[in-house]
Symmetry: C2
Subunit: 363 residues, 2 copies
């Protein structure tokens, strides 16, 4: 069996070592005679996994003590509703920055619950940049300020994060679905960080929320229990049956990340991987990256060929070299190489080699 | 490796054949060089799995064409909110039958959104029965009538289902989390059937909803998108990234059920399994089942020993025989043997043999 080089945008590559362990433990978790997915979430064995996962995630991200870490369902899309439902309190509006398709969705959902001030918007620039932070028109009375730290479709990523008003405090909320754990972040600057697992943490069906504890417990009246952070925080994310197998896989990924040297090491590796690919694109007269240099994502590298008619041939030839899922999102076209943590450096090297050859043949 | 006999109430046993296939395909799904959990939910391979799962579920349950089948997240607990949010329309109250702990939770959640008429309540009987249907005080103006077809904790199960008012129609809504696919049901009698996967369908983190199409599209204004059945129905349950690996495992379980002969065969096997165990309890002067005969569940068999001080010894001795997870729910004490589809008849035989021996030694 040969493992493919998988550049999928999400659900995405999972470390081979993690899948091997999951395979080996599938029918018999540590001599129990059962799969971990056949056990109660209240069993000692599962609780050990859940606690280890939380402890390792806290250690990896250096999460301050006064934050809760929640393991939920519903994806980032459910968070688009949970954030306003829980954080609005007496406020009537929130600030949002629109840097791409995920920001746009978050804004649309928030408008169901409150006024939304779009304080910066890169739509007119076809989402090729992060609007300069000093140009944002922040509202000191906003319930919170929402950003998406990395946009998978356009391939833009925040390189640094805004300061928000501190008195009265405006919490900074970030959808980090597609770059969590790819680099260290200073969690203390955020009120809420949330992320679907299916890019850098494990399989789809698990959502991690890191929330400053003073923001928990203020859900709007009539909020469904499962959408109230306080319900989950008060029950160790086991108010109802959690997605135990996805949680277990995330625990294995967190352990793998620690073995890889933690987030400083991952960031160095990710910078190297993305740097190589962007350099190859820059040095070519054939490939083009539409994103301005300062905003380029380490996670998702979009690029185009000189003629869209070449796209099909490029993708087909790539697959013969074991390079999969390079097709760009239908809304932007071209190619996209997603380089999440689990994508090895060898995959990027193989991609660049192939790209050079393809350019030589067709350019 | 020996597989344990696993009587867990949920998350619960999964067919060994399903786990074996999942293990074998973990690193390389059908020559793709990837795990199915590493693939986009919009990839051809995953869509084939998703479509097969729906087709097989429809075939197993004989779901009429005018019903949507949804594969969601959030568990039955999220359905406790989604049902009123989507089905209330202009109505102000709904009818609920309280047959145990899950009904009670559904009622509590519904009260956030509407008036709740508890039309029958077995609480004063310590949930040892299903209140006779002809005693229920149904409201013809109710938005719907909600039941829980099987209560895992008390071990009571509906043997037949109520008629509801047909003009104006009062849809019957059933939480079938713990007995879906254990027997044939006439889906056409229900407006909505919902079930968490973690008893009879697969791992925790997947929720199946079967809903008559005319009930879709009426969500209350301000309902979060992810809680609107119309959003999911309109997108083939892929409005956002679905829990793909759990969906894949459910697909394997559905295939296994078809290979086992479908739901008539499962019901016969489940009746045989539960019948044996209830008979053994009846014939003993040692064990006692607190549930009235007519309401006894095929899925969850609660029983007590003559003295709770024996419980620890019983559980410890059972484990030495490879019989696991027999401890009753903390709210009722005693023992509980859950006999879901994936629990083989040999497990029940081994349990009965052990129970007889334990009675002989300690009785």
């Amino acid at each position: 069996m040969t493992r493919a080089f998988n550049f999928a945008a999400g659900p995405a590559a999972i470390p081979t070592e993690v899948l091997e362990q999951a395979r080996d433990e599938m029918l018999d978790y540590q001599g129990s005679g059962m799969s971990i997915m056949e056990m109660s979430h209240r069993s000692r064995r599962f609780i050990d996994i859940a606690e280890e996962a939380e402890a390792n995630l806290r250690e990896l991200l250096n999460v301050p003590e006064q934050y809760d870490v929640l393991f939920l369902q519903g994806g980032a899309t459910l968070q688009f509703a949970m954030v306003p439902l829980n954080l609005l309190r007496e406020k009537t509006s929130a600030d949002y920055v629109n840097t791409g398709s995920w920001s746009t969705k978050a804004i649309k959902e928030a408008r169901k619950f409150c006024g939304v001030n779009v304080v910066a918007n890169a739509e007119d620039d076809r989402f090729d940049r992060i609007p300069a932070i000093d140009t944002w028109s922040l509202d000191p009375n906003a319930a919170y300020l929402h950003i998406c730290s990395n946009e998978t479709i356009a391939g833009v990523q925040f390189q640094n994060f805004p300061e928000t008003f501190s008195d009265p405090g405006v919490p900074l909320v970030a959808d980090m679905s597609s770059d969590i754990l790819s680099r260290p972040v200073d969690v203390s600057r955020f009120g809420v960080i949330y992320a679907g697992a299916q890019k850098n943490m494990g399989p789809a069906g698990l959502t991690v929320v890191i929330i400053r504890r003073d923001l928990v417990g203020h859900a709007r009246k009539g909020t469904p229990s499962m959408l109230d952070y306080a319900v989950h925080a008060g029950a160790g994310s086991m108010s109802n049956t959690p997605p135990t197998y996805a949680w277990y896989l995330a625990a294995l990924v967190f352990r793998w990340l620690k073995n890889m040297g933690g987030l400083e090491a991952m960031e160095a590796r990710n910078r190297r991987k993305a740097g190589k690919l962007y350099t190859a694109i820059e040095q070519s007269n054939f490939y083009h990256c539409p994103v301005v240099k300062e905003a380029r994502s380490m996670m998702n590298v979009p690029f185009t060929l000189p003629d869209p008619d070449l796209d099909g041939a490029f993708l087909a030839a790539a697959e013969t070299r074991g390079l999969f899922n390079l097709k760009g999102h239908r809304s932007v076209g071209g190619m996209r190489a997603s380089l999440y943590n689990a994508v090895p450096e060898a995959a990027v090297d193989a991609l660049i080699e192939f790209m050079n050859e393809f350019e030589h043949e067709r350019g």
